[in-house]
């Protein structure tokens, strides 16, 4: 079930009403409503994969209680490893089996060996990476004694499957999320108002920005012709906003939906394209995943409290693994590695590059700030080319074209040939609107968080955003959220 479809528009208020009724009965009734709704939501795609969520939840539920009951460190470690093996085993099998097998056979044939291994063409269950990582925060948290084991199965299963963030996050920490299932939610009118505002903003990001940009980006990236640098740059530019609008839009709808039920999810995006450096970008982009990798990969392998070379290695490894988390393809690994490379100057030249300025404090020399924002955006844009391209070779061709003389070529004839001129106008206008809103509201959690503005401003903002959704939304066949495939 996609957030921007009619069925969700019916599903959400129906569950909300049931949830309110459940609140009149008991906390367990409320959680039960959420659990059933979440399984229904997930089963709408493919009910067969419900078994995976159930197994994952069951294993972690038992592991949590077992960890609490196991006193010896060695036994505790064994129980934790069992949980990791099951969770990561499911993830590894469904997401990476075919990838590693085909990579292995490719490598073997390159070395002159004839290796035959079966490729199973496994279907990746939607959201597997997200709920697996979320479940892991629980078992690791209990192991570290940071989280108390949850004994109420309904609360725990509802926590793992909570539908607003089930398929594409934010990846919540058990320590933040589980306690929210432990008290009855008395939903306030403020919760509903804020939730509706955030859902509206999310719909704008998805339907107006992302999907209109997708028309341009898809046409250019799916073209097999060798494109002039100017056209390649335009493709990368629109993809940068497609993926931002798509994923931030999803996150806003998720946060807004959760808010309707009185839940507070963590902020996942904080105007990342206004960042003045790559480290700042990663503090503002997909925050729940970045912090997950920081806490569960980067710090455990040594973090930054090591020598500079080791620190650099840790950074590169963490970014590359996070790239692979996105998808079983070397293009994603390259995307992560490239972002890791971008990070390195901050390790070796930290003092020179030390930046205290943020997009929220556009002070002093505005020219410098704009230049830094532009450079950061350009670097991320180059990395997105690897993220979006089908092969590393195609990505290098595109990047090469951007750094060739063809960057000065007039792109209009190619764009006209692709039938993209009017799509570019619509998508460009959407990007402008997005950035204007986000710049004005850059100190807020989302751009339509306007409750402190005067009445006329608030209603003007609503009218503007809703008007844009109604009149300039993408109208082709529904496009999935990009992150669903991860």
């Amino acid at each position: 079930m996609l957030f921007h479809t009619v069925i969700y528009a019916v599903f959400l208020p129906s569950v909300w009403l049931l949830y309110l009724l459940g609140g009149r009965i008991s906390l367990r009734a409320q959680n039960f409503v959420l659990l059933v709704a979440s399984y229904f939501f997930y089963g709408w795609w493919d009910w067969r994969f419900l078994g995976l969520i159930f197994i994952s939840s069951l294993v972690d539920y038992i592991v949590g209680i077992s960890l609490d009951a196991t006193p010896t460190p060695r036994a505790r470690r064994f129980v934790l490893l069992a949980s990791l093996a099951v969770n990561l085993g499911i993830l590894g099998f469904f997401k990476y089996y075919d990838f590693f097998i085909s990579s292995l056979t490719d490598a073997a044939s390159a070395a002159g060996l004839d290796v035959q291994a079966p490729v199973l063409r496994i279907i990746l269950p939607v959201g597997l990476s997200f709920y697996t990582f979320q479940a892991l925060t629980y078992t690791v948290g209990v192991y570290r004694r940071q989280v108390k084991p949850e004994r109420d199965p309904i609360a725990f299963f509802a926590y793992v499957a909570f539908f607003p963030q089930l398929v594409a996050g934010p990846i919540e920490r058990a320590g933040h999320m589980l306690p929210q299932f432990k008290h009855t939610h008395h939903i306030s009118a403020d919760d509903v108002t804020r939730g509706l505002r955030q859902i509206t903003w999310g719909l704008f990001c998805k339907l107006v920005v992302a999907d209109n940009c997708a028309i341009v980006a898809n046409r250019i990236f799916d073209s097999h012709a060798h494109l002039p640098g100017s056209v390649a740059l335009i493709g990368a530019f629109f993809f940068a906003f497609q993926i931002y609008g798509d994923f931030s839009g999803y996150s806003h709808i998720a946060l807004g939906s959760a808010r309707l039920f009185g839940f507070e999810l963590m902020q996942n995006f904080a105007t990342p394209y206004f960042s003045q450096s790559i480290p700042e970008f990663w503090r503002r982009w997909h925050i729940s995943l970045s912090t997950w990798f920081r806490d569960f990969v980067f710090i455990p392998i040594g973090g930054s409290r090591v020598g500079k070379l080791r620190y650099a290695f840790n950074i590169l490894l963490t970014f590359t693994v996070s790239g692979l988390w996105h998808g079983a393809n070397w293009t994603f690994a390259m995307w992560g590695f490239l972002n890791g490379l971008y990070y390195l100057p901050n390790i070796f030249f930290a003092k020179r590059l030390e930046s205290s300025a943020t997009a929220q404090t556009l002070t002093r020399n505005r020219f410098v700030v704009v230049a830094r924002v532009a450079l950061t955006f350009f670097l991320t844009l180059l990395a997105w080319i690897f993220f979006r391209s089908k092969t590393i070779h195609a990505a290098f061709l595109m990047v090469g074209s951007i750094f060739s003389g063809s960057i000065a070529t007039n792109p209009a004839p190619v764009l006209r040939q692709f039938g993209l001129l009017s799509a570019i106008v619509t998508a460009g206008a959407a990007i402008v609107a997005l950035n204007v809103f986000e710049f004005i509201q850059r100190d807020k959690g989302f751009a339509l968080q306007v409750e402190s503005r005067p009445l006329a401003t608030r209603w003007a903002a609503y009218a503007c955003v809703v008007g844009l959704i109604l009149c300039f939304r993408y109208t082709g066949s529904a496009l999935d959220f990009i992150y669903f495939q991860f």
Partner: protein, 337 residues
């Protein structure tokens, strides 16, 4: 400053928002060209109910719609509308056949462009949804009934949004089919031949793109024919006249694909008028007939089907030199006894 909402203030705000939304919908519905077109669309189909004893029904897009109901006999009715695809034709036919009727013959377009990429998505798609909904069609509502009902709200209507975007874009660029004078009979024939051929060629290339590349149009054709047969209606496939330059982009391979499809579905009566008119005076644009052309075509249709199709008083118009009309299966004898 943090404003605090109460349930009461929230209810008031939501009511106001719904009121504004309803008013915006009403305004859009009453003033937008898209919905004016919708009124016309429904009016054409509704007109069928005013004709008690219709036996022959014409369906298709603008190539068929040019046969205006005013020139048709009482027992013939044309529900064709510019921009219709085969899905829309199916929807209308379902609706007509679901009502009391005496239809025995369906003049179904078999123009090549109906099977091309351009007609996969019709601008009349949302109009036709109404007929599919009303008749409980098992086909055509791929997004589900709920989404279709949602689409009936003007500002939720995707086709309207598409229309709006195009309308805005038109402000910046001219229509590729040229100026307004093209829409008049004299306008087209008074253009230099070279220009006419260029426009016709460009239009043809656009219209004939992707013939045979998509299975959907052929599936709809089968559904239309099956539906007609299930109601005892005889199907005659018609290919309407166009200019030679327009038809250049329709390749023999395209024809073969369509012919095979018609044969597979058992449509044997095919009236092929594509090349019957050579003179520019028979056309008002690359693929639409002038009044003279329409009169000539009607005469050909009558002769070939041995059926009175023209209204009294409209059959004395000149038929021109259209003697070369050829039917692939029936030549010049009656198609149906």
């Amino acid at each position: 400053m943090r404003l605090r909402n109460t349930w009461r203030t929230l209810a008031i705000k939501i009511t106001v928002a719904i009121g504004i939304f309803a008013a915006a919908n009403l305004l859009t519905y009453e003033t937008s060209g898209y919905f004016l077109r919708e009124h016309e669309y429904y009016a054409v189909v509704a007109g069928f109910t005013e004709h008690q004893h219709v036996r022959s029904v014409f369906v298709g897009d603008s190539h068929v719609a040019q046969l205006d109901n005013e020139i048709l006999a009482d027992d013939a009715y044309n529900v064709a509308f510019g921009g219709d695809g085969l899905r829309e034709i199916y929807a209308k036919l379902r609706y007509l056949l679901s009502r009391p009727n005496e239809i025995d013959t369906l003049f179904l377009t078999a123009d090549a462009h109906m099977f091309g990429t351009g007609r996969l998505q019709s601008s009349n798609g949302a109009f036709a949804d109404m007929y599919l909904l009303r008749t409980g069609s098992p086909f055509g509502l791929e997004h589900g009934r709920l989404a279709t009902v949602f689409n009936l709200v003007p500002l939720f209507n995707d086709d309207f949004v598409q229309y709006l975007k195009l309308d805005i874009a038109k402000g910046w660029k001219r229509s590729p089919r040229g100026g307004d004078d093209e829409d008049t009979d004299a306008g087209w024939s008074s253009r230099p031949q070279e220009e006419r051929e260029r426009i016709a060629r460009e239009t043809g290339i656009g219209d004939h793109r992707g013939i045979g590349a998509h299975s959907e149009p052929f599936q709809w054709y089968v559904r239309i024919v099956d539906l007609a047969r299930a109601h005892g209606v005889h199907v005659i496939a018609v290919r309407y006249p166009s200019t030679a330059a327009y038809l250049e982009s329709e390749t023999p391979a395209d024809d073969m694909v369509i012919d095979r499809a018609l044969a597979a579905v058992g449509v044997a009566d095919i009236l092929d008028y594509r090349h019957v008119f050579a003179d520019a005076s028979y056309f008002k644009d690359p693929d639409h007939l002038s009044k003279k052309g329409i009169a000539a075509l009607m005469q050909l249709l009558e002769n070939q089907t041995r059926r009175k199709l023209r209204a009294a008083g409209s059959d004395d118009q000149p038929a021109g030199t259209a003697s070369a009309a050829a039917s692939r299966s029936s030549d010049r004898r009656g198609l149906r006894d």
